[in-house]
Subunit: 315 residues, 4 copies
């Protein structure tokens, strides 16, 4: 059975028809407004109807950046879109027909599920996925099942505290893993380094027009690729935090594989050696257990669409 | 179906016949040697045969303080007993008959499963259990299933790092949660406080015969019960670390309930308010989610027997 | 001998004639521009000439928020005024006459010196002063002498690291004491608490018009004075960091008294008990040594004028 | 004028006649008992009288590992010798004559003073000395004066807290710098590494007879000299903590030079590059200030004798 997957961003939705092998047969987009949640519901309905004309699609999966209710019908709260206890599932069924199956899922969970089913984790039964962009999201699969927790709040690994009294997080707590293992953390540290030691940061400062507060993530990546020592050290430090945190997660979850996706994962060979080193340096019971490999995600930006569609197909 | 549960300690095993409601119908003990693993195998076989004479028992569950293989037949490694890749299941079947089902499980997992099925967690589908004695062990249940991880190393929550460069752990890493949320941590901090500020520690020092390095866990508990300010502060600090760490675990697992067992949980009303306060102070997305209650375990020392027996009955 | 003291702020200078007992006999102000360092030099010259008409003044002391050269003639660098290796002393002498003694001093050092000579520290020979406003500055007196260090960079206590990988500082490093023991830290933590737990922060949010990011320092102080539990906890936490850091400083300097000045010190009875508790809890060799009292500064905003004038009088 | 310097160890005293250039003209030793403080007094008197027969010595300086009173007559408390408010000065004068000048000084202060006057710091006016053996002691000189603080407890830099909730210290507090920057810290981390990752620690384990808890400091140094990767990483980590802490001290004291002595300093080229790197990485206001060099002490084990003698000569 085919299913429609919809990945909802801040100002647009991306959607696709996904077959049972995780292949996207067709794709489309719609512009939406983050403040107008009805516009998003309508856009979902539109893409469903557009696809239904050409494909036999039995379900719609929606990947949403927010907390999703246990029945996977409602977004309880979202930081960047005006969803507050908004029942997307009901709303979409009201537009396209009550018999259409609509399943809402947290976007990091959806992307993780896609990697688990069709991507880097497809041969594993137990997987930890880390999606590292501006922030740090996660997905957990144990024994073949997505772990959603009692109320759908599981796998928020970015809010595990890794440094007491550490960097303040958007969530209002201090020392969250996200503040050490994310693109935002990389930029913050790069800018700080440019203030603390301008000579060492000469390359970064040049790329940022001389303003330490203008250094960007792409500046750091480009400088690192060009061999700049500070930029490489900053990425290595980011990798260390990713790996060390993953070791703590492995103490809890014992995954068979750790998949790292999101924009930060694109740093590739600059990043992964230090992720691995940090992971192994902190892994408990080393020598008594197999060591899970840490690998890059393979599905890229389509993961949300693919995962949401596939979850909508599951019972 | 009844099953036999066996809980293996350092110098003895405790065993019982457990019915499907988790009730222990009969109990027995045997002395064993931690250096003679065959003596343990024989003792398990003996209690099985003893019980079989009176009860129809279809399976034996063994709770072992060590890492257990994925097929739940072998202890891969144990810190306090000489098991090194020792196949308890095969050994016991060799003694009692190849048709007897023998299932080995990590002891914290077994105790957690008992609480989940018959104790404090019996109404929940998603549970985090913390067993806090000298160390800190755990068990994780998601959606009704015990989380063992890919190789049986899951739920080792005591080795999540909570303080970079923090107290050294027996595992060889620094800053493990176990070093902040355990009876050993309580004793270490009590002794340090007695050195740092003898006047404030006068009550503790009196109980320890004047030697700060002789202060014990029961000294702290007794002093706290008698109203000593420092002892109460030390237990509150322990509680804070338990609760704050549980909040990090809730970010990953979103449990419906957190069950605290082990000897430290006996501190009861002295401990739990600070556990709760620490948990709520660090819980992410507070206000957007229900708050899992943190409760004491109810099955006491029998939990290992009951849980092992019940797990042996499961497929 | 009278001396003129000048305290240079971002947009104005305040000046006074100070007698040998530290009394201000006359005061005046001038507007200046932080980007036009010559305007500041001229304003200093003007106030000197104005005062000279009425008083016999033999020296000018200038308190400047920046790094001051060893010969106390030049501001090497300042974060908020455009001084870059600017020789204030030479410039002012060029305007008022080469025979006038002009001494430049870091503003926190000047304020500390005033407290040492005429204020809260006047009976001590060894003093640590903490000036806590938006940031955290300091002054150190040992055996009656102001400690300037080899190049004039001493007493920058706000940049002692107290939390590895802690909050990022304007200086480009992480975990500086200033990020935990300052008005900025109080505001940051108050805003974070309002995000993390809006219910607990109801009073603060009401004062800030409902916007967690608009909570201000005066909001916290006012709420604490009105009895709000969160506001009191936030100020107590600030006090704890001040006191604990002061204990580390006492390990290095063994002061007879710790003087706390700056706007944050105005929190008074809400703040000082927790400062003291934090200090005593972390003081090394407690029981073997006297415990330095921690007291509020007594000279208020005039301390910079008084201290700069007095330092100009010293050889 | 010559002076006698006496350095008091746990089971013996070492003494010498020291001239005004810091040269030792004669040396001797006596066995003593740490539990019999009178035996130490007598031994000091003996060496004084022995030297007086051959040299014109006008004063005796005593270097003692303990807290020394403001009048430098009495050891208030010592961790390893049974001094409790014991007036060494009075006792020695009672034995050798009331007209002999006897000055007691903390041993780290005495050694630091020797380096300042005649050793690595002889060209500086502001010096920070770190004496790193089993523990971490210090001495501070500002503007040519030894900083003793109000009650003689200054320069206890080993008890500055560098990691909140960090390793427990013998002083009863957590996270003292001494627990990160000392020979004890090196051994603790080496043993932990041997537990956490035996494969990586193969060389260390071989040297320690296979027992991770038997790894010693010399094992680490020898392995590092032989090129072992782990041993080198452990020493580099030690160096990082020394350097980063020194940067915090530089924020307070702005020394012209940092001198590192004690047994750990013997690691030399294995250690100092990482000390320097850590120092520069954390130095505040880098680029706006000169960078103090970090150098090894030059007087070795004689520093206590030389410094005590010289201090006895000062007013």
């Amino acid at each position: 059975m085919h299913a429609v997957g919809v990945d909802i961003g801040g100002t647009k939705i991306a959607a696709g028809v996904v077959d049972e092998e995780g292949r996207i047969l067709a794709k489309t987009r719609r512009s939406t407004s983050p403040d107008d949640v009805a516009s998003i519901d309508r856009a979902i309905a539109e893409v469903y109807e557009e696809f239904s004309e050409q494909y036999a699609v039995g379900a719609v999966g929606v990947a949403a950046a927010g907390f999703v209710s246990t029945d996977r019908n409602t977004v309880l709260f979202a930081p960047n879109i005006a969803w507050r206890d908004h029942a997307i599932g009901d709303a979409v069924r009201g537009l396209v027909g009550a018999d259409v199956r609509v399943v809402v899922e947290n976007d990091a969970n959806a992307a993780g599920w896609a990697e688990f089913r069709f991507g880097a984790g497809r041969d594993a039964a137990d997987m930890l996925m880390l999606t590292i962009g501006t922030g740090l999201g996660g997905a957990v699969v144990t024994d073949g099942k997505l772990v959603r927790g009692r109320w759908g709040f599981a796998a928020e690994v970015g809010h595990v505290r890794v440094v007491p009294d550490g960097h303040v997080c958007g969530c209002g707590h201090n020392g969250c893993w996200e503040q050490y293992a994310s693109g935002s953390a990389l930029v913050r540290e790069a800018r700080a380094a440019a203030v603390a030691d301008p000579a060492r940061a000469a390359d970064l400062l040049r790329r940022a027009g001389g303003d330490p507060h203008a250094v960007s993530g792409p500046d750091v990546t480009a400088a690192a690729e060009a061999g700049d020592e500070l930029a490489r050290a900053l990425i290595a430090e980011l990798g260390r935090w990713i790996g060390e945190g993953a070791a703590s997660m492995a103490a809890v979850l014992d995954p068979e594989i750790v998949v790292v996706g999101g924009g930060v994962a694109d740093a590739g060979d600059l990043l992964f050696p230090s992720v691995n080193a940090g992971f192994l340096a902190q892994l408990s019971a080393r020598g008594h257990r197999p060591e899970a490999p840490i690998v890059g995600a393979t599905l890229g930006n389509d993961a949300g669409i693919v995962g949401a569609a596939d979850l909508a197909r599951q019972d």
